[in-house]
Amino acid sequence: MSSKTDWTWFHRLGSPRWFYETTGRWLPWLGLLTLLLLGTGLVWGLGFAPQDAKQGNSFRIIYIHVPASFLALAGYYLMAIAGAVGLIWRMKLSFMVMKAAAPIGAVLTFLALFTGAVWGKPTWGTYWVWDARVTSMLILLFLYLGVLALQYAFHSQEAGNKASAILALVGTVNIPIIYKSVDWWYTLHQPATIKFTSAPSMHPDMFQPLLVMILGFYCFYAVALFLHTRAEILRRERKSSWVRELAIKEAGL
């Protein structure tokens, strides 16, 4: 055994080319799995799950609302960690992942807000309330958009990367506030349906399709993140020989 720690895996992980080629092999399977899970979850949740005793059929919005919110939050952690790794180890790929996570997170946060608003109308009698949960999610949307905007605000890519990463890290303070908002403040929003520490407050017939949808959204997130990162890799590595070879091969030159 060598006395020095073997860091080759770490450097390989940081290689855009390695990332591009590996995810290229995974994507077809991951895409198929995503379609299966989301298809099953939607049909199950919209057609087969029993309706809610109080909310009737409007509760079926949960099958989009909760998974989208989950990934909007988990995606923020991922983006902030990618930014931190980029700042600390100056890993190029890490900044590309951070940039890729921003538009995906923004869309998922928007969907969480939008489906929440549409769900609010028949349940609360209003589309929008400025309560703690809704407002802190709106701040999350602005943080995602801020990280994205800073990418284009500087002439140098490096300055943009640093600014985005710092905003992403500072913004993580918002995440526990979102989680805790339903407990800390009086709010219209119902408490969390799923907790790690106790059984879900939901009948299994309703909960199982939700679990399938959440898994489906996780897979969808991975697919979207891989695709966005791959496009970004090609843009930033366009001068490298492997991208040029790939371009020649695809164009049939």
Partner: protein
Amino acid sequence: MKMQFDNFQQLWDMAGHGPFVWTSVLVSLVMMIWLIVRPLADRKAALQDVARDIARTAQAKENLKGDS
């Protein structure tokens, strides 16, 4: 497990909640598809840019040879 609706009309209507549920589902699907289609188009455009660049450089070299 049992289908909760007797026909498509009922599924669409959802006892009055259909507009809310289906708006949520359709808007979500459209935006999620966009999250997949946009980077695929970006990837293609990036590779086409590189290929165009390579072709242009090769053409320039060819012209230079012809001049001398």
